[in-house]
Protein backbone atom coordinates (compact mmCIF):
# COMPACT_ATOMS: atom_id res chain seq x y z
CA UNK A 1 0.00 0.00 0.00
CA UNK A 2 1.33 3.42 -0.88
CA UNK A 3 1.94 6.08 1.73
CA UNK A 4 -0.82 8.32 0.33
CA UNK A 5 -3.31 5.50 0.58
CA UNK A 6 -2.33 4.78 4.18
CA UNK A 7 -2.75 8.46 5.07
CA UNK A 8 -6.16 8.49 3.41
CA UNK A 9 -7.25 5.30 5.21
CA UNK A 10 -6.13 6.47 8.65
CA UNK A 11 -7.97 9.74 8.11
CA UNK A 12 -11.12 7.65 7.67
CA UNK A 13 -10.22 5.71 10.83
CA UNK A 14 -9.95 8.76 13.06
CA UNK A 15 -12.83 10.74 11.51
CA UNK A 16 -15.53 9.03 13.63
CA UNK A 17 -13.92 9.93 16.96
CA UNK A 18 -13.22 13.49 15.75
CA UNK A 19 -16.83 13.89 14.62
CA UNK A 20 -18.12 12.46 17.91
CA UNK A 21 -15.96 14.66 20.12
CA UNK A 22 -16.61 17.89 18.21
CA UNK A 23 -20.26 17.03 17.64
CA UNK A 24 -20.99 16.48 21.30
CA UNK A 25 -18.87 19.48 22.27
CA UNK A 26 -20.54 22.01 19.96
CA UNK A 27 -24.05 20.61 19.51
CA UNK A 28 -24.88 19.14 22.92
CA UNK A 29 -22.63 20.69 25.57
CA UNK A 30 -22.27 23.92 23.55
CA UNK A 31 -19.13 25.16 25.15
CA UNK A 32 -16.16 26.67 23.37
CA UNK A 33 -13.04 24.52 23.27
CA UNK A 34 -10.16 25.98 25.21
CA UNK A 35 -6.82 25.96 23.37
CA UNK A 36 -8.47 25.07 20.07
CA UNK A 37 -5.18 25.40 18.16
CA UNK A 38 -3.46 22.95 20.52
CA UNK A 39 -6.34 20.49 20.15
CA UNK A 40 -6.23 20.68 16.37
CA UNK A 41 -2.45 20.19 16.42
CA UNK A 42 -3.05 17.13 18.58
CA UNK A 43 -5.52 15.62 16.14
CA UNK A 44 -3.15 16.29 13.25
CA UNK A 45 -0.34 14.54 15.15
CA UNK A 46 -2.63 11.58 15.83
CA UNK A 47 -3.32 11.32 12.10
CA UNK A 48 0.32 11.49 11.01
CA UNK A 49 1.49 9.31 13.88
CA UNK A 50 -1.06 6.58 13.24
CA UNK A 51 -0.12 6.49 9.56
CA UNK A 52 3.61 6.20 10.31
CA UNK A 53 2.96 3.56 12.94
CA UNK A 54 0.90 1.41 10.57
CA UNK A 55 3.57 1.65 7.86
CA UNK A 56 6.25 0.62 10.35
CA UNK A 57 4.04 -2.18 11.59
CA UNK A 58 3.68 -3.65 8.10
CA UNK A 59 7.39 -3.27 7.36
CA UNK A 60 8.97 -4.24 10.67
CA UNK A 61 6.82 -5.62 13.49
CA UNK A 62 4.75 -8.11 11.48
CA UNK A 63 7.72 -9.39 9.42
CA UNK A 64 9.84 -9.76 12.58
CA UNK A 65 7.17 -11.81 14.35
CA UNK A 66 6.67 -14.01 11.30
CA UNK A 67 10.41 -14.40 10.76
CA UNK A 68 10.88 -15.64 14.32
CA UNK A 69 8.05 -18.13 13.89
CA UNK A 70 9.49 -19.42 10.60
CA UNK A 71 13.08 -19.69 11.79
CA UNK A 72 12.29 -21.30 15.14
CA UNK A 73 10.16 -24.00 13.49
CA UNK A 74 12.50 -24.63 10.57
CA UNK A 75 13.41 -28.30 10.05
CA UNK A 76 17.12 -27.53 9.98
CA UNK A 77 16.91 -25.61 13.25
CA UNK A 78 14.91 -28.21 15.18
CA UNK A 79 16.60 -31.25 16.72
CA UNK A 80 17.25 -34.06 14.22
CA UNK A 81 14.65 -36.80 14.14
CA UNK A 82 14.31 -40.29 12.74
CA UNK A 83 12.99 -40.77 9.20
CA UNK A 84 9.19 -40.59 9.06
CA UNK A 85 8.85 -40.01 12.80
CA UNK A 86 6.27 -37.61 14.21
CA UNK A 87 7.69 -34.51 15.79
CA UNK A 88 7.25 -34.38 19.56
CA UNK A 89 5.92 -31.13 21.00
CA UNK A 90 8.98 -30.75 23.20
CA UNK A 91 11.18 -30.33 20.09
CA UNK A 92 9.82 -26.81 19.83
CA UNK A 93 11.35 -25.73 23.17
CA UNK A 94 12.93 -22.60 21.67
CA UNK A 95 9.48 -21.48 20.53
CA UNK A 96 8.16 -21.71 24.08
CA UNK A 97 11.22 -19.98 25.47
CA UNK A 98 10.87 -17.16 22.94
CA UNK A 99 7.14 -16.77 23.64
CA UNK A 100 7.78 -16.62 27.37
CA UNK A 101 10.62 -14.09 27.07
CA UNK A 102 8.76 -11.76 24.73
CA UNK A 103 5.68 -11.84 26.99
CA UNK A 104 7.55 -11.19 30.21
CA UNK A 105 9.95 -8.56 28.86
CA UNK A 106 7.33 -6.43 27.13
CA UNK A 107 5.05 -6.45 30.17
CA UNK A 108 7.35 -5.91 33.14
CA UNK A 109 8.38 -2.39 32.06
CA UNK A 110 5.00 -1.32 30.63
CA UNK A 111 4.46 2.28 31.91
CA UNK A 112 0.69 1.96 32.36
CA UNK A 113 1.23 -1.20 34.40
CA UNK A 114 3.78 0.55 36.62
CA UNK A 115 1.31 3.38 37.27
CA UNK A 116 -1.56 1.01 38.04
CA UNK A 117 0.51 -1.17 40.38
CA UNK A 118 1.74 1.79 42.41
CA UNK A 119 -1.86 2.95 42.81
CA UNK A 120 -2.97 -0.53 43.82
CA UNK A 121 -0.20 -0.70 46.40
CA UNK A 122 -1.36 2.58 47.97
CA UNK A 123 -5.00 1.54 48.08
CA UNK A 124 -4.27 -1.86 49.60
CA UNK A 125 -2.50 -0.23 52.55
CA UNK A 126 0.71 -2.20 52.13
CA UNK A 127 -0.60 -5.74 51.68
CA UNK A 128 0.07 -5.52 47.93
CA UNK A 129 3.66 -4.92 46.87
CA UNK A 130 3.73 -2.98 43.54
CA UNK A 131 6.77 -4.86 42.24
CA UNK A 132 5.27 -8.25 43.08
CA UNK A 133 2.07 -7.20 41.36
CA UNK A 134 4.00 -6.28 38.22
CA UNK A 135 5.84 -9.58 38.32
CA UNK A 136 2.52 -11.43 38.65
CA UNK A 137 1.10 -9.65 35.62
CA UNK A 138 4.26 -10.28 33.59
CA UNK A 139 4.33 -13.96 34.56
CA UNK A 140 0.65 -14.32 33.67
CA UNK A 141 1.20 -12.70 30.30
CA UNK A 142 4.30 -14.80 29.59
CA UNK A 143 2.54 -17.99 30.62
CA UNK A 144 -0.52 -17.13 28.49
CA UNK A 145 1.59 -16.61 25.37
CA UNK A 146 3.63 -19.74 25.99
CA UNK A 147 0.49 -21.78 26.48
CA UNK A 148 -0.88 -20.25 23.28
CA UNK A 149 2.25 -21.32 21.39
CA UNK A 150 2.02 -24.83 22.84
CA UNK A 151 -1.64 -25.04 21.84
CA UNK A 152 -0.75 -24.18 18.25
CA UNK A 153 1.94 -26.89 18.26
CA UNK A 154 -0.54 -29.43 19.64
CA UNK A 155 -3.40 -28.21 17.45
CA UNK A 156 -5.92 -28.47 20.27
CA UNK A 157 -9.07 -26.35 20.15
CA UNK A 158 -8.70 -22.90 21.69
CA UNK A 159 -12.03 -23.13 23.49
CA UNK A 160 -10.78 -25.87 25.84
CA UNK A 161 -8.05 -23.57 27.08
CA UNK A 162 -10.32 -20.57 27.34
CA UNK A 163 -12.95 -22.65 29.14
CA UNK A 164 -10.33 -23.85 31.63
CA UNK A 165 -9.08 -20.32 32.20
CA UNK A 166 -12.65 -19.01 32.62
CA UNK A 167 -13.39 -21.63 35.28
CA UNK A 168 -10.20 -20.69 37.13
CA UNK A 169 -11.09 -16.98 36.91
CA UNK A 170 -14.62 -17.59 38.17
CA UNK A 171 -13.50 -19.73 41.12
CA UNK A 172 -10.81 -17.19 42.04
CA UNK A 173 -13.23 -14.26 41.68
CA UNK A 174 -15.48 -15.80 44.29
CA UNK A 175 -12.59 -16.26 46.74
CA UNK A 176 -10.47 -13.10 46.18
CA UNK A 177 -10.53 -9.86 48.19
CA UNK A 178 -13.23 -7.75 46.50
CA UNK A 179 -11.09 -4.65 46.02
CA UNK A 180 -8.63 -6.49 43.79
CA UNK A 181 -11.22 -7.83 41.32
CA UNK A 182 -11.64 -4.80 39.02
CA UNK A 183 -7.88 -4.28 39.04
CA UNK A 184 -7.27 -7.92 38.16
CA UNK A 185 -9.73 -7.82 35.27
CA UNK A 186 -8.25 -4.60 33.95
CA UNK A 187 -4.69 -5.89 34.19
CA UNK A 188 -5.55 -8.34 31.42
CA UNK A 189 -6.42 -5.47 29.13
CA UNK A 190 -3.56 -3.21 30.16
CA UNK A 191 -0.81 -5.62 29.17
CA UNK A 192 -1.74 -5.99 25.54
CA UNK A 193 -0.17 -2.83 24.18
CA UNK A 194 -0.09 -1.53 20.64
CA UNK A 195 3.40 -2.95 20.12
CA UNK A 196 2.89 -6.36 21.74
CA UNK A 197 -0.38 -7.26 20.00
CA UNK A 198 0.99 -7.21 16.40
CA UNK A 199 4.12 -9.18 17.41
CA UNK A 200 2.05 -11.85 19.17
CA UNK A 201 -0.48 -12.01 16.33
CA UNK A 202 2.31 -12.44 13.76
CA UNK A 203 4.01 -15.08 15.90
CA UNK A 204 0.81 -17.11 16.24
CA UNK A 205 -0.10 -16.90 12.55
CA UNK A 206 3.50 -17.67 11.59
CA UNK A 207 3.62 -20.75 13.83
CA UNK A 208 0.30 -22.00 12.49
CA UNK A 209 1.45 -21.66 8.90
CA UNK A 210 4.85 -23.35 9.36
CA UNK A 211 4.08 -26.21 11.75
CA UNK A 212 2.93 -29.21 9.70
CA UNK A 213 -0.79 -29.95 9.92
CA UNK A 214 -1.82 -26.54 11.32
CA UNK A 215 -3.77 -23.89 9.46
CA UNK A 216 -3.56 -20.15 10.22
CA UNK A 217 -7.35 -19.84 10.09
CA UNK A 218 -8.10 -22.62 12.58
CA UNK A 219 -5.02 -22.49 14.82
CA UNK A 220 -3.31 -19.14 14.28
CA UNK A 221 -5.45 -16.97 16.54
CA UNK A 222 -5.93 -17.21 20.27
CA UNK A 223 -2.56 -16.17 21.70
CA UNK A 224 -3.81 -12.66 22.43
CA UNK A 225 -6.89 -14.08 24.15
CA UNK A 226 -4.79 -16.28 26.44
CA UNK A 227 -2.32 -13.45 27.04
CA UNK A 228 -5.24 -11.38 28.35
CA UNK A 229 -6.72 -14.10 30.56
CA UNK A 230 -3.74 -15.34 32.51
CA UNK A 231 -2.73 -12.01 34.11
CA UNK A 232 -6.23 -11.99 35.67
CA UNK A 233 -5.49 -15.37 37.20
CA UNK A 234 -2.00 -14.55 38.47
CA UNK A 235 -3.03 -11.15 39.89
CA UNK A 236 -5.90 -12.68 41.85
CA UNK A 237 -3.60 -15.52 42.89
CA UNK A 238 -1.07 -13.02 44.20
CA UNK A 239 -3.79 -11.05 46.02
CA UNK A 240 -5.04 -14.22 47.69
CA UNK A 241 -1.50 -15.12 48.72
CA UNK A 242 -0.85 -11.60 50.06
CA UNK A 243 -4.09 -11.66 52.05
CA UNK A 244 -3.34 -15.08 53.47
CA UNK A 245 0.14 -13.98 54.53
CA UNK A 246 -1.20 -10.76 56.09
CA UNK A 247 -3.79 -12.76 58.05
CA UNK A 248 -1.19 -15.20 59.26
CA UNK A 249 1.16 -12.42 60.38
CA UNK A 250 -1.64 -10.70 62.23
CA UNK A 251 -2.57 -13.87 64.07
CA UNK A 252 1.09 -14.48 64.96
CA UNK A 253 1.45 -10.99 66.40
CA UNK A 254 -1.79 -11.17 68.36
CA UNK A 255 -1.06 -14.65 69.62
CA UNK A 256 -3.73 -17.26 70.09
CA UNK A 257 -6.50 -14.80 70.98
CA UNK A 258 -6.78 -13.59 67.35
CA UNK A 259 -7.04 -17.14 66.11
CA UNK A 260 -9.80 -18.00 68.53
CA UNK A 261 -11.67 -14.83 67.54
CA UNK A 262 -11.71 -16.01 63.93
Amino acid sequence: MGLAEIFWNTLRDILPIIAIIFGFQYLVIRKKIKHLLQVLTGFFMVWVGLSFFLVGLENALFPMGELMATQLTDGAFLPAMAEGAQRHWSDYYWVYFFAFTIGASTTIAEPSLIAVSIKAGEISGGTIDPLMLRISVALGMAFGITLGAWRIVMGWPLQWFVLGAYILVIVQTLRSPRAIIPLAFDSGGVTTSTITVPIIAALGLGLASTIPGRSPLMDGFGMIALACLFPIITVMGYAQLAQWRANRQRSEVNGTSAVSEE
Binding site: V46, N59, I102, C228
Partner: protein
Amino acid sequence: MELVFSLLRQLRDSIRDLAPVVLVIGFFQLVVIRQPLPDALALGDLILGLVFVVIGLTLFIKGLELGLFPLGEGLAKAFVQKGSLSWLLLFAFALGFGSTVAEPALIAVAARASEVVSQGGLIPSSLAAQQAFATTLRMVVALSVGTAVVVGVIRIFNGWPLHLMIISGYILVLVLTFIAPSEIIGIAYDSGGVTTSTITVPLVTALGVGLASAIKGRNPMLDGFGLIAFASVMPIIFVLLFGIFGLGLVTGDH
Protein backbone atom coordinates in the same frame (compact mmCIF):
# COMPACT_ATOMS: atom_id res chain seq x y z
CA MET B 1 9.51 24.84 23.07
CA GLU B 2 7.66 22.93 25.76
CA LEU B 3 6.07 20.82 23.04
CA VAL B 4 9.50 19.86 21.73
CA PHE B 5 10.62 18.69 25.16
CA SER B 6 7.48 16.68 25.80
CA LEU B 7 7.82 15.15 22.34
CA LEU B 8 11.38 14.12 23.18
CA ARG B 9 10.20 12.59 26.46
CA GLN B 10 7.54 10.65 24.59
CA LEU B 11 10.14 9.59 22.03
CA ARG B 12 12.20 8.14 24.88
CA ASP B 13 9.12 6.32 26.22
CA SER B 14 8.31 4.88 22.78
CA ILE B 15 11.88 3.64 22.39
CA ARG B 16 11.66 2.09 25.84
CA ASP B 17 8.41 0.34 24.85
CA LEU B 18 9.98 -1.08 21.73
CA ALA B 19 13.35 -1.95 23.30
CA PRO B 20 12.35 -5.29 24.91
CA VAL B 21 10.97 -6.57 21.59
CA VAL B 22 14.11 -5.57 19.69
CA LEU B 23 16.45 -6.89 22.41
CA VAL B 24 14.70 -10.27 22.71
CA ILE B 25 14.48 -10.78 18.95
CA GLY B 26 18.06 -9.55 18.51
CA PHE B 27 19.28 -11.98 21.18
CA PHE B 28 17.49 -14.89 19.52
CA GLN B 29 18.82 -13.92 16.09
CA LEU B 30 22.44 -13.56 17.19
CA VAL B 31 22.72 -16.25 19.85
CA VAL B 32 20.10 -18.90 19.15
CA ILE B 33 19.21 -18.89 15.45
CA ARG B 34 22.48 -17.58 13.96
CA GLN B 35 21.12 -17.57 10.40
CA PRO B 36 21.35 -14.79 7.81
CA LEU B 37 18.10 -12.91 7.19
CA PRO B 38 16.06 -14.26 4.26
CA ASP B 39 16.50 -12.36 1.00
CA ALA B 40 13.00 -10.89 1.14
CA LEU B 41 13.87 -9.08 4.37
CA ALA B 42 16.60 -6.46 4.27
CA LEU B 43 17.99 -5.34 7.62
CA GLY B 44 17.84 -1.74 6.45
CA ASP B 45 14.12 -2.01 5.73
CA LEU B 46 13.47 -3.52 9.14
CA ILE B 47 15.37 -0.76 10.90
CA LEU B 48 13.58 1.87 8.84
CA GLY B 49 10.28 0.23 9.75
CA LEU B 50 11.17 0.31 13.45
CA VAL B 51 12.06 4.00 13.14
CA PHE B 52 8.60 4.54 11.61
CA VAL B 53 7.02 2.65 14.52
CA VAL B 54 8.82 4.80 17.09
CA ILE B 55 8.10 8.13 15.33
CA GLY B 56 4.51 7.13 14.64
CA LEU B 57 3.83 6.01 18.19
CA THR B 58 5.42 9.16 19.60
CA LEU B 59 3.33 11.53 17.48
CA PHE B 60 0.21 9.43 18.02
CA ILE B 61 0.39 9.33 21.83
CA LYS B 62 1.49 12.96 22.18
CA GLY B 63 -1.30 13.98 19.82
CA LEU B 64 -3.82 12.06 21.91
CA GLU B 65 -2.60 13.85 25.05
CA LEU B 66 -2.86 17.25 23.38
CA GLY B 67 -6.25 16.87 21.75
CA LEU B 68 -8.42 13.86 22.27
CA PHE B 69 -7.78 13.04 25.94
CA PRO B 70 -8.44 16.49 27.49
CA LEU B 71 -11.50 16.98 25.27
CA GLY B 72 -12.82 13.50 25.99
CA GLU B 73 -12.30 13.86 29.73
CA GLY B 74 -13.90 17.32 29.74
CA LEU B 75 -16.91 15.96 27.88
CA ALA B 76 -17.19 12.98 30.23
CA LYS B 77 -17.25 15.37 33.19
CA ALA B 78 -19.76 17.65 31.48
CA PHE B 79 -22.12 14.78 30.70
CA VAL B 80 -21.91 13.43 34.25
CA GLN B 81 -22.84 16.90 35.58
CA LYS B 82 -25.55 17.43 32.98
CA GLY B 83 -27.60 14.84 34.82
CA SER B 84 -29.37 13.42 31.78
CA LEU B 85 -28.97 9.66 31.69
CA SER B 86 -30.00 9.25 28.05
CA TRP B 87 -27.43 11.81 26.84
CA LEU B 88 -24.79 10.21 29.03
CA LEU B 89 -25.52 6.77 27.60
CA LEU B 90 -25.48 8.09 24.04
CA PHE B 91 -22.14 9.75 24.71
CA ALA B 92 -20.77 6.61 26.35
CA PHE B 93 -21.73 4.54 23.34
CA ALA B 94 -20.25 7.02 20.87
CA LEU B 95 -17.03 7.26 22.86
CA GLY B 96 -16.55 3.50 22.96
CA PHE B 97 -17.43 3.14 19.29
CA GLY B 98 -15.29 6.00 17.97
CA SER B 99 -12.18 5.22 19.97
CA THR B 100 -12.27 1.57 18.90
CA VAL B 101 -12.50 2.44 15.20
CA ALA B 102 -9.23 4.39 15.52
CA GLU B 103 -7.43 1.75 17.62
CA PRO B 104 -4.13 0.90 15.80
CA ALA B 105 -3.83 -2.69 17.03
CA LEU B 106 -7.35 -3.45 15.86
CA ILE B 107 -6.70 -1.95 12.41
CA ALA B 108 -3.58 -4.10 12.04
CA VAL B 109 -5.04 -7.35 13.36
CA ALA B 110 -8.31 -7.00 11.41
CA ALA B 111 -6.32 -6.57 8.19
CA ARG B 112 -4.26 -9.66 8.99
CA ALA B 113 -7.38 -11.64 9.94
CA SER B 114 -9.04 -10.76 6.63
CA GLU B 115 -6.01 -12.11 4.72
CA VAL B 116 -6.08 -15.34 6.71
CA VAL B 117 -9.83 -15.75 6.31
CA SER B 118 -9.55 -15.24 2.57
CA GLN B 119 -6.63 -17.69 2.26
CA GLY B 120 -8.74 -20.15 4.23
CA GLY B 121 -11.44 -19.83 1.56
CA LEU B 122 -14.07 -18.36 3.85
CA ILE B 123 -14.39 -15.19 1.77
CA PRO B 124 -13.38 -14.56 -1.89
CA SER B 125 -9.68 -13.89 -2.31
CA SER B 126 -10.15 -10.45 -3.85
CA LEU B 127 -8.72 -7.38 -2.16
CA ALA B 128 -12.18 -5.80 -2.08
CA ALA B 129 -13.63 -8.77 -0.19
CA GLN B 130 -10.73 -8.68 2.28
CA GLN B 131 -11.20 -4.99 2.93
CA ALA B 132 -14.94 -5.48 3.35
CA PHE B 133 -14.34 -8.25 5.88
CA ALA B 134 -11.77 -6.19 7.83
CA THR B 135 -14.06 -3.16 7.94
CA THR B 136 -17.08 -5.22 8.98
CA LEU B 137 -15.06 -6.94 11.70
CA ARG B 138 -13.88 -3.59 13.06
CA MET B 139 -17.39 -2.17 12.99
CA VAL B 140 -18.73 -5.21 14.87
CA VAL B 141 -16.00 -4.82 17.49
CA ALA B 142 -16.59 -1.06 17.73
CA LEU B 143 -20.34 -1.60 18.22
CA SER B 144 -19.55 -4.13 20.92
CA VAL B 145 -17.21 -1.77 22.79
CA GLY B 146 -19.85 0.98 22.57
CA THR B 147 -22.39 -1.43 24.03
CA ALA B 148 -19.92 -2.54 26.69
CA VAL B 149 -19.36 1.02 27.87
CA VAL B 150 -23.13 1.62 28.01
CA VAL B 151 -23.62 -1.56 30.08
CA GLY B 152 -20.70 -0.52 32.30
CA VAL B 153 -22.18 2.94 32.88
CA ILE B 154 -25.59 1.46 33.76
CA ARG B 155 -23.81 -0.88 36.15
CA ILE B 156 -22.06 2.01 37.90
CA PHE B 157 -25.42 3.80 38.25
CA ASN B 158 -27.17 0.82 39.75
CA GLY B 159 -24.19 -0.49 41.71
CA TRP B 160 -24.49 -4.00 40.29
CA PRO B 161 -21.59 -6.30 41.26
CA LEU B 162 -18.98 -6.51 38.53
CA HIS B 163 -17.99 -10.12 38.97
CA LEU B 164 -21.51 -11.52 38.55
CA MET B 165 -21.88 -9.63 35.26
CA ILE B 166 -18.48 -10.74 33.98
CA ILE B 167 -19.26 -14.34 34.88
CA SER B 168 -22.57 -14.11 32.97
CA GLY B 169 -20.59 -12.72 30.05
CA TYR B 170 -18.21 -15.68 30.20
CA ILE B 171 -21.12 -18.12 30.25
CA LEU B 172 -22.64 -16.41 27.22
CA VAL B 173 -19.27 -16.66 25.43
CA LEU B 174 -19.08 -20.38 26.14
CA VAL B 175 -22.65 -21.04 24.96
CA LEU B 176 -22.08 -19.06 21.74
CA THR B 177 -18.79 -20.91 21.14
CA PHE B 178 -20.74 -24.14 20.72
CA ILE B 179 -23.01 -22.62 18.06
CA ALA B 180 -20.54 -20.41 16.18
CA PRO B 181 -18.64 -21.67 13.09
CA SER B 182 -15.24 -22.90 14.28
CA GLU B 183 -13.34 -20.63 11.87
CA ILE B 184 -14.47 -17.48 13.69
CA ILE B 185 -13.70 -18.62 17.27
CA GLY B 186 -10.00 -17.70 17.36
CA ILE B 187 -10.61 -14.30 15.78
CA ALA B 188 -13.50 -13.64 18.18
CA TYR B 189 -11.48 -14.51 21.30
CA ASP B 190 -8.53 -12.40 20.18
CA SER B 191 -10.69 -9.39 19.36
CA GLY B 192 -11.37 -8.97 23.06
CA GLY B 193 -7.73 -8.28 23.82
CA VAL B 194 -7.03 -6.19 20.76
CA THR B 195 -9.59 -3.49 21.50
CA THR B 196 -8.36 -2.48 24.90
CA SER B 197 -5.25 -0.51 24.19
CA THR B 198 -3.96 2.94 23.40
CA ILE B 199 -7.06 5.10 22.84
CA THR B 200 -9.91 3.17 24.37
CA VAL B 201 -8.43 2.49 27.82
CA PRO B 202 -7.66 6.08 28.89
CA LEU B 203 -10.88 7.55 27.48
CA VAL B 204 -13.15 4.86 28.88
CA THR B 205 -11.40 4.79 32.26
CA ALA B 206 -11.76 8.58 32.51
CA LEU B 207 -15.50 8.22 31.94
CA GLY B 208 -15.79 5.45 34.53
CA VAL B 209 -13.75 7.12 37.25
CA GLY B 210 -15.48 10.47 36.64
CA LEU B 211 -18.85 8.84 36.92
CA ALA B 212 -17.99 6.83 40.03
CA SER B 213 -16.65 9.90 41.83
CA ALA B 214 -19.72 11.95 40.91
CA ILE B 215 -22.30 9.45 42.19
CA LYS B 216 -22.72 9.20 45.95
CA GLY B 217 -21.83 5.89 47.51
CA ARG B 218 -19.65 4.73 44.62
CA ASN B 219 -16.00 3.99 45.08
CA PRO B 220 -13.85 5.04 42.11
CA MET B 221 -11.50 2.12 42.75
CA LEU B 222 -14.27 -0.49 42.83
CA ASP B 223 -16.70 0.99 40.33
CA GLY B 224 -14.55 3.20 38.12
CA PHE B 225 -12.49 0.37 36.77
CA GLY B 226 -14.23 -2.58 35.30
CA LEU B 227 -15.44 -0.73 32.20
CA ILE B 228 -12.36 -2.16 30.51
CA ALA B 229 -13.31 -5.62 31.71
CA PHE B 230 -16.65 -5.32 29.87
CA ALA B 231 -14.88 -3.90 26.85
CA SER B 232 -12.80 -7.06 26.61
CA VAL B 233 -15.65 -9.58 26.97
CA MET B 234 -18.32 -7.89 24.84
CA PRO B 235 -16.29 -8.03 21.57
CA ILE B 236 -15.99 -11.81 21.91
CA ILE B 237 -19.78 -12.11 22.24
CA PHE B 238 -20.45 -9.77 19.31
CA VAL B 239 -17.90 -11.36 16.95
CA LEU B 240 -19.25 -14.83 17.76
CA LEU B 241 -22.76 -13.56 17.01
CA PHE B 242 -21.42 -12.06 13.79
CA GLY B 243 -19.98 -15.48 12.95
CA ILE B 244 -23.35 -17.11 13.55
CA PHE B 245 -25.63 -14.62 11.81
CA GLY B 246 -23.55 -12.20 9.76
CA LEU B 247 -20.80 -14.22 8.13
CA GLY B 248 -23.09 -15.29 5.28
CA LEU B 249 -23.69 -11.65 4.35
CA VAL B 250 -19.97 -10.99 3.95
CA THR B 251 -19.08 -14.26 2.25
CA GLY B 252 -21.93 -13.89 -0.22
CA ASP B 253 -23.67 -17.24 0.36
CA HIS B 254 -26.87 -17.01 2.33
